[in-house]
Symmetry: C3
Subunit: 115 residues, 3 copies
């Protein structure tokens, strides 16, 4: 069964397609001056863009693992999430606190989606 | 390929079925007065109930990601886990420490299962 | 659809095959006297060995979740990773900090692969 990789770099790729399933790399914000809501909105926008490139979209997300560098940002993250998640099609989700590779990142989201 | 969602809320759903695979949301204890063993037993009971609703069961779990708010609870979690996990059919598992969204939760478990 | 488990123990197994997909348990170093680069190289070697037993290999990894006990080891981990990851076939990856079950472990890696 074929494997298709997107945005292949030397260390990782941003998305892999295999067997009707998309595996996304942990998506992180580019503009680290934003607050938690703004960073989350940016991350979700990247996810939308990646999914679209593979012919999927946010109504077809299966699971989301959310890492917050500080759980004090839980409400801010959810403000962006709740505005974005499609009614009737929310994924299975888990949210935990974990220090992220760049200390300026407040959120990192790992998604698996159907395609 | 069809996607079926269970317990759909505004923010997340508790389980998603796609391509012979079930993706569960992070399951957490309801009774936070319980100790680590008790909370884990409750979480595993929720997992059993969810899997049953999709026609699966604990002998068909593929992977389990366990988040403990305090690794001091590792033995307590395992006491409940070892009593529950079916002989000959244990999943691939990983356990790490991470602060959870509710400080009273001692454990959160994310499961992927076959169906 | 069949489920095949590898290295089945009482608590977990090291790898599960289902529907053209392999789910590996969190792989950890055996020689904890090694530095982060050495521990990571050992973990990646275990992953190679497990994948080979199921007829897969590192060019077919879909996603990798890396847990570092200390993000100060990010560069050391990547030194081993970059030397190992196959050109043109890197997986989707996410790296966060999390305390691991054995305080001597510097790294734990969870992999999903195609087969």
């Amino acid at each position: 069964m074929d494997i298709e990789r997107f945005d292949v770099g030397p260390r990782l790729c941003e998305m892999v397609k295999h067997n009707h399933t998309l595996y996304l790399a942990g998506q992180v914000p580019e503009d680290t001056t934003l607050d938690a809501k703004g960073q989350t909105a940016q991350v979700l926008d990247y996810i939308d863009t990646l999914l679209a490139r593979a012919g999927s979209d946010k109504t077809r997300i299966l699971s989301a693992q959310i890492f917050l560098s500080d759980l004090a940002d839980y409400d801010g993250m959810n403000a962006a999430w709740d505005a974005w998640v499609p009614v009737g099609h929310p994924p299975a989700r888990a949210t935990v606190q974990a220090k992220l590779a760049n200390p300026a990142w407040k959120v990192e989201i790992v998604v698996v989606a159907a395609v």
